[in-house]
């Protein structure tokens, strides 16, 4: 009887230890998963109605737009927080990206059309910058500035977008855009070139709340 009690106590202790180890392992894996998703929150293309192009669904949708502070072409620091209360389109682009060049005139028109309603575009350049080499950096900034001037972009153009690519899902492909409502929540996203109508619909979505 006494021996049975001892064995049973030992078994219960072992089971309790295993249960704790299992729970701790589950928590560890859960946290690792969350870290993985947060560090590489990449979207996926999901099919829509038959015949339509696949829609880009970013895991950032429904979440707060990741905060950032970047420089504009004059060296002034610009933060996402500076635009609190505005509906935003954060457009990641580059001078070497042909589809970006096609959508830019649409962006300019739409920005001018909706700015009175509290809408703004932040264009984040993903062009490489050689920060360690002042001469090269100056030439690279000039190239971006020339593009901005040529395309008559009236909205803030920020440089060094690579530094914020991770929280925005890696940004392996351009153009990529995020539509942010007045509360700072990402309400829509877009990977690649789509139509002006589709961009406008998403801008209206960002202004709706």
């Amino acid at each position: 009887m006494k021996r049975n009690t001892l064995v049973l106590t030992a078994v219960l202790f072992i089971l309790a230890t295993f249960a704790w180890a299992g729970w701790a392992n589950f928590e560890y894996r859960k946290q690792a998963t969350e870290r993985l998703l947060a560090s590489a929150a990449q979207g996926e293309l999901v099919p829509t109605a038959a015949g339509d192009a696949a829609q880009y669904l970013s895991p950032l949708q429904g979440k707060s737009a990741p905060a950032f502070t970047l420089e504009d072409l004059s060296g002034k620091k610009v933060s996402l927080a500076d635009y609190k209360g505005k509906a935003l389109l954060i457009n990641f682009w580059a001078t070497w990206c042909a589809p970006c060049k096609i959508e830019t005139p649409w962006m300019v028109e739409l920005r001018n059309q909706y700015s009175a309603q509290g809408f703004e575009i932040l264009a984040v350049s993903m062009d490489d910058l050689d920060r360690g080499e002042p001469e090269k950096l100056s030439a690279e900034k000039k190239e971006i500035a020339a593009f901005v001037q040529k395309m008559k972009m009236p909205y803030p153009v920020l440089i060094g977008g690579d530094s914020i690519s991770k929280p925005y899902g890696g940004l392996d492909d351009l153009p990529t855009s995020f539509f942010v409502d007045r509360n700072g929540t990402i309400v829509a996203s877009q990977l690649g070139l789509t139509s002006k109508d589709e961009i406008e619909a998403k801008i209206k979505q960002s202004l709706a709340k």
Partner: protein, 168 residues
């Protein structure tokens, strides 16, 4: 003897069940998009060359662009676009004297049929004129390019074309 005890059996079963379920990976392991993507351009051939040392020699270097993608030609239609360019590092025992690039083909994105891009798709060859010093050289030629599909573009990239060059 002890293992025959029902409580011990339960404990052993629980141990085995927990051990099998306790893999140390995250619950959801998604490969990154860049890791899962095949390279946009690959070097095909030649892998080996034997040349007369010190004498400029023409060599065709063959590359292939992945299906569904295109890269800018050496003479892109717009100045901002990144031209495909071949280079050979200095001090590699082989000097790139000149390179003749193939003409690109016109390509328009479906949403902007009026704008013509000048691109390479599929296989293409660059006619390089190189000069090798005497001896064996493992040359790592570089091809810089920028690839896109019909709606998106990937950042500029440089790949290595490894060629074993023997200068006689």
């Amino acid at each position: 003897m002890i293992a025959r005890h029902p409580a011990i059996r339960i404990a052993i079963a629980a141990l085995l069940a927990l051990a099998s379920a306790s893999a140390q990976e995250p619950l959801f392991d998604k490969p990154s998009r860049s890791a899962s993507k095949p390279p946009a351009v690959e070097y095909l051939y030649p892998e080996q060359l034997t040349l007369p040392a010190g004498k400029p020699t023409k060599v065709a270097l063959h590359f292939r662009v992945a299906p569904g993608l295109h890269i800018n030609s050496h003479s892109p239609s717009e100045e901002e676009l990144i031209a495909t360019t071949l280079s050979i590092p200095e001090d590699s025992g082989v000097r790139l004297e000149s390179a003749v690039y193939p003409p690109g083909t016109d390509f328009a994105l479906p949403l902007d049929p009026k704008t013509k891009l000048n691109v390479y798709t599929g296989e293409f060859a660059i006619q390089a004129r190189i000069v090798a010093t005497a001896g064996n050289h493992l040359v790592e030629a570089h091809l810089r390019y920028q690839a896109c599909d019909q709606n998106t573009c990937m950042p500029p990239k440089t790949i290595t074309a490894a060629i074993d060059v023997v200068g006689n």
